[in-house]
């Protein structure tokens, strides 16, 4: 009997009042340019980026930039901007 009462009491216990939702104030981060992202990821060297190249780079889509960064990571510590000394690759 006592346990039944306790269970009833527990069931009828009021839920705690909900706290008023606090509005999150969005902190706007300054947008990083493609050029900054690619330099930071060591895809391109910081120096010697011609204006024309910078324009091309900053027009790249996010998917293109992400893929370039992924390819860079596969190279590890090796410099990315290598010139091939040999190139008989896959002619079709």
């Amino acid at each position: 009997m006592a346990t039944k009462k306790a269970a009833l009491k527990k069931a009828t216990k009021k839920a705690p009042a909900k706290k008023p939702a606090v509005k999150k104030t969005a902190v706007k981060k300054p947008k990083t340019s493609n050029l900054d992202r690619l330099v930071a990821a060591d895809v391109i060297p910081q120096a010697n980026i011609a204006d024309q190249d910078a324009k091309v780079i900053n027009k790249l889509s996010a998917a293109e930039v992400n893929t370039l960064i992924k390819l860079r990571k596969k190279l590890g510590d090796a410099p990315f901007a290598t010139k091939a000394s040999t190139r008989p690759n896959f002619p079709v």
Binding site: E64, N89, V92
Partner: protein, 235 residues
């Protein structure tokens, strides 16, 4: 000043080519290249065969888009390019034969996962995005042709018979013309920004997959230096 489609694509390719150059150098400068080269040719044969089927598929897809101004340029270009490339896999098979590898052995060799990825991804883009994406693949593969003097140096270093290099040498002669055609054709297309993006993604994937082919060949060699072809057959 506006940049042409091909210049734009090449500017993007130059941002990614380090991945290809590093893997390519690692393979071609390897001290045991003579043992790995037959396997490279066998995998190249797979790529050549797969490339022809791919171009036929992309051409057929372009032909069912008659109102699409880009597809109208893609279809006749591919039709012509298929004709230009159509016997090359047989030439290569002859070259491989001079290394005492029979056609049946070439047919039995398992394509490397990177070879499947290289060609397979192009089907997805050609069928589900737009057949023009195959230009990203073709431009990378035609855009880094072998050089005759490099092939000659490799032949001397590996001491493999000159007959094993005939198909590669033919490409050293022909691919510069092909890449000029590809660039010109691309520049004549009214490409959208979306199509330019997918062309670049297709080119980046091609670079990554070709680099992976070299890495997989090197890994096979490391795990079994003497019988890589047998291992390819068994896998």
């Amino acid at each position: 000043m506006s940049v042409s489609h091909s210049d734009l694509l090449w500017a993007k390719i130059r941002l990614a080519e380090g991945r290809l150059n590093a893997a390519s150098d690692q393979f071609w400068l390897h001290p045991n290249l003579a043992r790995m080269l037959p396997d490279f040719l066998v995998q190249l044969h797979r790529v050549m065969q797969g490339g022809l089927s791919l171009m036929r598929t992309a051409r057929d897809r372009a032909l069912v888009l008659p109102q699409d101004p880009v597809a109208r340029i893609v279809a006749p270009y591919l039709e012509q390019h298929i004709l230009e490339e159509q016997d090359h896999d047989d030439w290569l098979l002859d070259d491989i034969g001079t290394l005492k590898i029979r056609p049946a052995e070439v047919a039995a060799a398992t394509p490397l996962p990177a070879v499947v990825s290289l060609v397979g991804a192009q089907y997805f883009w050609a069928l589900n995005i737009h057949p023009v994406t195959v230009f990203g693949y073709l431009i990378v593969l035609e855009g880094y042709p072998p050089l005759t003097e490099q092939l000659e140096a490799i032949r001397k270093r590996t001491r493999l018979p000159a007959t094993a290099f005939r198909c590669l040498i033919a490409h050293a002669d022909n691919d510069p013309h092909h890449i000029a055609d590809l660039n010109r054709t691309l520049d004549s297309m009214p490409l959208t920004e979306e199509q330019q993006k997918y062309l670049a993604l297709s080119a980046f994937h091609t670079i990554d997959a070709v680099a992976s082919v070299f890495e997989e060949l090197l890994a096979l060699h490391l795990s079994s230096p003497r019988s890589t072809l047998r291992k390819l057959k068994a896998s």
